[in-house]
């Protein structure tokens, strides 16, 4: 707004010559009005497609889910009867929910932790002065274009209990076969492997971008001081990546807690295993909603999942804030001093 209000004096002479003096005032004021109106309304017009659609397919369903979660939903009449928090109580008292919660966190940790560690190291390799950069960068991203369902089918085959590739190799090496589908922990490892396969390259590229933004003088100074590659990695690279790391952690938390495709495809029943070994929260939600057709309970579970994500997100945010501020200070002065010392 301020920008155009200061300008008319500069542009006025041009319009002066173009318009006859008598009509000038009226025309300009009309134009100015139009322009001011344009200036005020346009931004809202531009964001409105997003917000209107989002209100319909995003906000409204969220509120409606809350309403349904307080109801006993009748599919035939397609309406519900208000019953208060009974659905939440049912879920919280259901041992399957707690199994699903444990499984979700277990799979999430088994996928995100090793994935990020490996991603950092691959990114560090890509950050070196290598030949055929584009080729190597593209090669880490190939798995990302494969659908999670497709990845799950391939890995379910490789992790077969009897004839699977992995157990075949293990027994060839004289090791015992692993019960990939019977034991909860090993089923989580197998499912986490599918997630890791698809997402490691993606996170690698995000971390690589952050690494390339680190000023090269730091490394130069460290080299002069005789610090080796590994020492430089620990003292320069890792601290500078903190903010990006936490961003990656937050996004993979949000995604990881919603995991569905891989556990759904891990066997041919899709129920999460005979003893719920790999039942996750979203899989449980699907089984309640579209297996038992109980929408009230599914909605309550959706809200519980959202609250879990929210709590973890807020914890992450608090941690992020403190760490980012910390890093900013170091970037300013302390880091250079630290490297020189």
């Amino acid at each position: 707004m301020t920008s155009t209000q200061t300008r008319p004096t500069e542009s006025a002479p041009q319009t002066d010559q173009a318009e006859p003096p008598a009509r000038r005032v009226r025309v300009l004021s009309f134009r100015q009005n139009l322009s001011r109106w344009d200036l005020k309304v346009s931004p809202y017009l531009y964001i409105s497609p997003f917000f209107i659609m989002f209100a319909i397919v995003g906000l409204f369903p969220i509120a409606y889910t809350a309403v349904i979660s307080l109801m006993d939903w009748d599919l035939v009449r397609n309406s519900g009867e208000f019953i208060g928090f009974d659905q939440y109580a049912w879920i919280l008292q259901n041992p399957q929910f707690w199994t699903a919660l444990r499984n979700t966190f277990s799979i999430f940790l088994l996928s995100s932790v090793p994935q990020l560690i490996v991603a950092i190291f691959i990114a560090a390799m890509l950050d070196r002065n290598i030949r055929a950069r584009t080729f190597w960068r593209m090669s880490v991203l190939v798995p990302f274009v494969m659908a999670p369902v497709a990845v799950a089918l391939i890995f379910s085959n490789m992790f077969g209990d009897v004839h699977g590739l992995v157990n075949g190799i293990l027994t060839d090496l004289g090791l015992p076969a692993v019960p990939w589908h019977k034991d909860p922990f090993w089923s989580h490892v197998a499912i986490a492997t599918m997630v890791n396969f698809r997402w490691t390259g993606y996170n690698t590229l995000i971390l690589l971008a952050a690494m390339q933004a680190i000023p090269r003088d730091y490394y130069e100074a460290a080299t002069v001081d005789g610090a080796g590659a590994f020492r430089q990695f620990l003292s320069i690279t890792l601290p500078s990546l903190k903010a990006t790391l936490i961003f990656v952690i937050i996004t993979s938390t949000i995604g990881g807690l919603q995991i569905f495709d891989e556990p759904r495809m891990f066997d041919n029943t899709g129920e999460g295993g005979p003893a719920q070994q790999w039942l996750t929260i979203t899989l449980f939600l699907y089984n309640i909603g579209w297996g038992e057709w109980n929408f009230g309970r599914a909605a309550a579970l959706a809200w519980i999942l959202f609250l879990i994500i929210l709590v973890i997100g807020l914890i992450n945010l608090a941690v992020t804030r403190s760490l980012v501020r910390d890093e900013g200070a170091r970037n300013g002065r302390r880091k250079k001093k630290g490297v020189r010392a």
Binding site: Y44, Y46, V145, H163, F260, F295, A302, F306
Partner: protein, 305 residues
């Protein structure tokens, strides 16, 4: 070398900085000081094999027959049945391969186009136009990125079945045509890609807001829009949870069709994995054509951290 030598956001910023001796020296130091040795290539080679192995494995199993997987004389060399197995998948009436391929293609393309349009418009307003409430609204948009899909599926399903839209491809397009991530991404990009002076100049010359958006905003947004479109296309193509819920099994998208391969019909893994590879080929082709852009797009999005 290629434009990928430095991450995209840096190219934008750096191109405006004159090439001083200091900068030139830094670049040389970097090249001299951090030259990669044998172990780096060995490590990257291992990663490459890890990335490609599952593709090879599905080709290996998919080109065999039902006995391949428990054959004691297991061979790492593919047999010749891939085309036969793929034909079986394509012709199977329970899988609906061709409708699924078509559905995936046009729904993903429409979603990508819609996301690019809504995100570019909103991103332009958030990054370059000043209006009351813009900061709060942008924070709100970013906050919604934490809302899980699951929170909307029950009412959306109820609504769509009320309208008689369940089983229709529209039911997967409509909820996907906006993206909070897209808005944020465009906002970040346009904020650094377009100098404010350029917009002021256009306004001074009497351009209306929409003309300024069209001649300055859209032109500047093009590279970011291409990457956002590509990314959205891949995500939409691979999406499973909501299409699995709302689509009819007889009129699926590719991931839903794939899930049917395993669920009840086939226990023959040679056919399942042939189908998996077959369904992956379109996106692999896309990746060969546009993978470079996808890579730099992801690296560019990273800076938002």
């Amino acid at each position: 070398m290629s434009s990928l030598n430095s991450p995209a956001p840096l190219t934008i910023v750096e191109s405006s900085i004159p090439d001083t001796p200091q900068r030139r020296r830094n670049r040389t130091t970097r090249i001299k000081g951090r030259r990669a040795g044998f172990w780096v290539y060995a490590g990257l080679g291992v990663v490459l094999i890890g990335s490609l192995f599952p593709f090879y494995w599905s080709f290996l199993i998919g080109s065999g027959d039902s006995t391949t997987i428990n054959d004691p004389d297991f061979s790492w060399w593919p047999a010749g049945n891939f085309l036969a197995n793929a034909t079986t998948v394509v012709n199977d009436p329970a899988v609906n391969f061709w409708p699924a391929l078509w559905n995936s293609t046009y729904s993903s393309a429409l979603i990508a186009a819609a996301v690019v349009v809504t995100s570019t418009l909103a991103g332009w307003a958030f990054s370059k136009l000043k209006f009351p409430g813009s900061k709060a609204l942008l924070v709100f948009v970013v906050a919604t990125m934490a809302v899980p899909t699951q929170l909307g599926v029950v009412p959306l399903y109820i609504l769509f079945s009320d309208f008689g839209w369940t089983g229709q491809i529209g039911a997967i397009i409509i909820p996907a045509i906006t993206s909070a991530f897209g808005v944020f991404w465009m906002t970040q990009y346009l904020r650094q890609a377009v100098p404010d002076e350029l917009i002021e100049a256009a306004r001074v010359d009497g351009a209306s807001m929409i003309r300024t958006f069209w001649t300055v905003g859209v032109v500047a947004a093009r590279p970011a829009a291409a990457m956002l479109g590509l990314f959205t296309f891949v995500t939409a193509w691979n999406n499973f949870f909501w299409p699995f819920i709302v689509l009819d099994r007889r009129d699926p998208t590719l991931p839903v069709a794939l899930s049917l391969l395993q669920s009840n019909h086939f226990v023959d893994y040679s056919i399942v994995l042939a189908g998996v590879l077959l369904s992956t080929i379109p996106l692999l082709l896309l990746f060969v054509v546009a993978g470079k852009q996808l890579v730099s797009g992801i690296m560019q999005g990273a800076v938002k951290g």
